[in-house]
Subunit: 313 residues, 2 copies
């Protein structure tokens, strides 16, 4: 392995100086073809620089339908030519992920949980590398459970923490645990908070986001198929989380932050809370209210993009 | 919490005596309504016993398209009335999972990775509980990487093991690690192997299945966005896995086995291998060959179901 890459692996700041380097894998240079299996794309079958070379903003989220709506929304917001209803799924040969490109914006679904988003991120980072993209920003726009916040609040993640409240991600590599930092880009987070202050109806805070590998027991829900703890045990855990700065809980942020940092990609996590977990576990809010909540991270990130493109001041 | 449930939590054999008990959560009895959020179903909005009361076989797999195809295939195999193309997605109000019911068979997608399948399993087990289903069998039919097996081989899982080759699943509950057994039903596995011997073109073995939380670094692939190990390191890890009995690698089996066992549900994991990992990492097999491979677990489980229903001898 090249010694520069070895040094860079634990020192992303070395890579930040060269915005063109994103992958951290010397083996890729020796491969004749790279098949991005879960995207149904490849370096021999597709002209990736032509398809994706102008991408400047990548937005990812769990639900395929939501990421299609986001692509249509961005189409409208950027006042691009053509009919926004005609956005087509670039990954249509597979149902693992959906991907839409609208001008300089890529919108991709990643399913639920760390493993699902990590497969997508490996292939996305390789795709952006093959396409020779530079200076792009990656956003996760998602939903979450709030901790001590009113439903509908948008949380821009300060630190992504694990279920022990540690700002780290443990990746098992060949049976050995490797611990990676989950630090996100402070500048982008602050810019997002500034953007929120310029919008109506997008109440936004910066706080820590806890990432769990389970929606029920892992997040202290009392309504799963399995539950061995009491209401008081649950409240105590949520209180502890709140006291360490956790404001929302979701299932992808740690690996998202860790992989982006390892590959020197500027990134932010922007999730709306669908409920306040101190008040309950089930999501019983009416469908139309939930739909409006889910649009808030989209509205915020769209405003950020428009400002960066000079479309609004 | 009731003392019987406390006892049962670590002794599933207590529950096996009463096939009607599946959930292990005393809080559920106190809930007026149970919203199965990711299925878009609920106890007040849907008559779950009427919709699902006759289910005897539940088949789950990662891809929504594949689970729709499986439902259509089962419709044909069981010679049910009506047009097999008309199977409808019961979860059509959400894109998190897809669900099809064909006679006594339920076919559901679960996405990729432990967190994604665990959300589905929590809601599925509650659904079957609310529907008062008894004596059903749960199958995971999926795809995997083979370890020392020719591509296209079907592996019926003996033990589901983690990336340290341990037959256990670690679940974090309120910040504490709980270790659960991943033992599967030996009788069902043997019956599946017997079924395979009655079929042409479904080469089948029983072996251990390793479940990882990452497709690239976690499975020793050299072609991810991040890779810090050599080809020899990879081969050594795969060799170790093989020597402990691992014959394939996928991303859901441990939590599937652990949750089914905790809830006293008879279950099996049946995955086809898409490649032999000793030969490579990328899935470059032609699409039509992959499609045929992916049908093999379906054909095997369909034969099992038909035998159980007395449709074949």
């Amino acid at each position: 392995m090249c010694s520069l890459l070895c040094q860079c692996f634990y020192r992303p700041e070395v890579l930040f100086k060269n915005p063109q380097i994103h992958v951290k894998n010397p083996h890729l240079d020796t491969m004749e073809e790279d098949i991005l299996y879960h995207f149904n794309l490849g370096t021999k079958t597709h002209n990736l620089p032509e398809m994706f070379g102008d991408v400047k903003f990548v937005c990812v989220g769990g639900s395929a339908n939501r990421m299609k709506s986001f692509a249509q929304f961005i189409h409208q917001e950027l006042a691009l030519p053509g009919n926004m209803d005609n956005v087509t799924d670039i990954c249509e040969g597979t149902d693992r992920y959906s991907m839409y490109k609208v001008g300089p914006v890529l919108s991709i679904s990643h399913g639920m949980g760390v493993p699902s988003i990590s497969i997508m991120l490996h292939e996305l980072i390789k795709l952006l590398h093959h396409a020779r993209c530079i200076d792009f920003i990656l956003f996760r726009i998602g939903t979450s459970g709030g901790v001590g916040l009113e439903a509908g609040t948008v949380v821009v993640t300060d630190k992504a923490v694990d279920c022990f409240f540690r700002a780290q991600f443990e990746q098992v590599v060949l049976g050995k645990v490797v611990t990676r930092s989950t630090e996100l880009d402070v500048g982008v987070s602050k810019e997002l908070l500034q953007c929120s202050s310029e919008l109506d109806d997008v109440p936004t805070v910066i706080g820590n986001t806890m990432c769990t590998s389970d929606f029920y027991e892992g997040q202290g829900r009392l309504d799963g198929a399995l539950c061995s703890f009491s209401t008081e045990d649950k409240r105590e855990y949520l209180r502890k989380a709140y006291n360490t700065g956790v404001r929302n809980i979701e299932m992808e942020s740690t690996v998202f932050a860790a992989m982006c940092r390892a590959c020197a990609i500027k990134a932010a996590v922007v999730c709306v809370t669908l409920l306040n977990r101190f008040d309950g576990d089930q999501i019983s809010t009416p469908h139309d209210v939930l739909v409006e909540y889910q649009q808030r991270p989209q509205v915020l990130v769209a405003h950020f993009i428009k400002k960066r493109l000079g479309l609004v001041v």
